[in-house]
Amino acid sequence: MNWGDGLAILGGLAAGILSGFIGIGGGTAFVPIMTVGFRFNQALAQGTSLAAIIPTAIVGGVTHVREGNVLLGPALWMGGGGVVGAILGALLAAHVPGLLLARVWGGFLVLTAFRLGQDAWKKANVVKALPPG
């Protein structure tokens, strides 16, 4: 064990909190830590994040089930559909330049962020518009 391993544990802790809280997988939490913090190339970061997310998602998922946050039916259907998509995606990723892949993914995240922000903003205004009491 060296400094790098210690930093990996800290990075894992941060990514794990995000993952458990938000429900995001490796692409959003672990990959940037590895590419930015540890200079991994995109493919190695993605592959390694898949290995790291399995136990992380199991612990987070079980905790969510116990907290009553999970609609198990839809979650499993989504997982099943996701399996097919993930295999196709992983095979496709091998043939698409890493830089393009990262930019497309980033653009998708930014658009999603704006739409989510807009939704939260609307919710706030609805709350304000309601008469007090």
Binding site: A15, A43, L50, P55, E67, N69, L72, V110, L116
Partner: protein, 94 residues
């Protein structure tokens, strides 16, 4: 997966976050061998993953417990902020 559930299935933010974490389990199990076996060289660093996992399983427990203690709207804003930061980073400096 979170936006899909929120906008097309009308699921609440809290359920969407938790459901997607459950769905990630089979997805990662299926995709991992593709990265390990079907690339020109194995694109998985198991040594590094092990140390990430030591931190992340503790983090995942903490994160999952926090979710019910924060109001729905704030959760949405936090999700949006995280996606914005990571998204901008990927677009500007992939």
């Amino acid at each position: 997966m979170i936006p899909l559930q929120l906008w097309w299935a009308g699921v609440s933010q809290r359920h969407a976050n938790a459901n997607s974490l459950i769905a990630i389990i089979p997805i990662s199990i299926a995709a991992l061998p593709v990265y390990y076996f079907l690339q020109s060289r194995p694109e998985v660093d198991f040594h590094f993953a092990l140390f990430l996992i030591i931190g992340s399983v503790v983090g995942a427990y903490i994160g999952a417990r926090i979710l019910n203690r924060i109001p729905e709207r704030e959760v949405t804003l936090i999700v949006a902020a995280v996606l914005l930061i990571v998204g901008l980073k990927e677009v500007i400096a992939p």
